[in-house]
């Protein structure tokens, strides 16, 4: 009996670590921005190239920043979910059109519908770097004070919206 105790413990420890490892997504790099002020930017708007948009414009509201591009296939898959979130009217969504061509981006929105209150044009991807974007799509939740509260890497799903994003939005709204 005692003979098997040690191998059994070793097995359980390894199995435990592997089980945790299986649940982790190595592609999800924790964002250093959570709890920190959103990096500022001033970018031209997609629809109105003469007008600019900046996170400062959204002060006082809870809002989402959704990083998208017309060349990004996961964004295409995510678009329906983003549209549904916009339709709830619970939270305004600002798009960050990342390293895209204006015509392609406008065409994409015409074809699939435009859930965004406005889209900022980040043609060179510099703002993307400032926000620590490394895979499109990404979605940030920003509170009334302009602090980043949550970052979702990869396409948002109905599950992540109903379990994480919208509850957080409601909580932040309630806290104000």
């Amino acid at each position: 009996m005692k003979k098997y105790a040690l191998p059994l413990i070793v097995f359980l420890v390894i199995a435990g670590f592997l089980a945790i490892g299986l649940r982790l997504d190595p592609r999800e790099v924790p964002s250093p921005f959570i709890g920190k002020p959103a990096p500022p930017f001033t970018l031209p708007q997609l629809h109105k190239p003469d007008a600019t948009i900046s996170p400062a414009d959204m002060k006082g509201q809870v809002w989402l920043l959704n990083v998208w591009a017309s060349w990004c296939t996961s964004c295409r898959a995510e678009h329906e979910v983003v549209t549904r979130v916009a339709a709830t009217g619970e939270v305004p969504i600002i798009g960050l059109n990342y390293k895209d061509e204006r015509d392609a981006a406008l065409g994409w929105l015409r074809r699939l519908g435009d859930p965004y209150k406005a889209s900022a044009v980040d043609a060179q991807g510099d703002v993307g770097i400032d926000w620590g974007v490394y895979g499109v799509p990404e979605t940030f939740v920003i509170d009334q004070q302009g602090v980043v509260r949550h970052k979702h890497i990869g396409p948002i799903t109905d599950k992540s919206v109903s379990e994480t994003i919208l509850p957080l939005v409601r909580k932040l709204k309630g806290a104000s």
Binding site: P26, R27, V29, P30, S31, P32, K99, Q124, G125, G128, I129, D130, W131, G132, Y134, G135
Partner: protein, 155 residues
Amino acid sequence: MTRAWLLALLFAVGSSAQATIETYTFETPAQEQAYKHLIDELRCLVCQNQNLADSNAELAQDLRRKTYEMVKAGKSSQEIVDYMVQRYGDFVLYRPPLKGTTVALWAGPFLILVIGVAVLIRVITRRRNDAAETDDAAELARVERLLAADKDRKA
């Protein structure tokens, strides 16, 4: 012989993959050195197991450009590393700093090594003792058997 050739081929492939397409020019060799060192030490966030120098992912290209611009602007290596860590976290470093969240990362391998050596020593000593005992017992039994046989014959 074939093995040596294969090995040489492997290195040839490895080094050509490292060659990047951008042609950045620097004012001083020190700047170029700093740039090369930085893109070696910074991780590509998209591919994760490549550094910026090795990767041709779009983001890696952008970050190389950013690194180049900052080196050119006279920023120190530390400033550039801080800039990257501020945006992408410690993950962007191939050599993460030793702090609370990374202790397991740094100490883990040594801990496992110590445990491994301890187990090995235990197994070896135990096996040696066991072996010694069995030898003695077996020998004793053999001798006793021989003596008994001898007695039988005499009787």
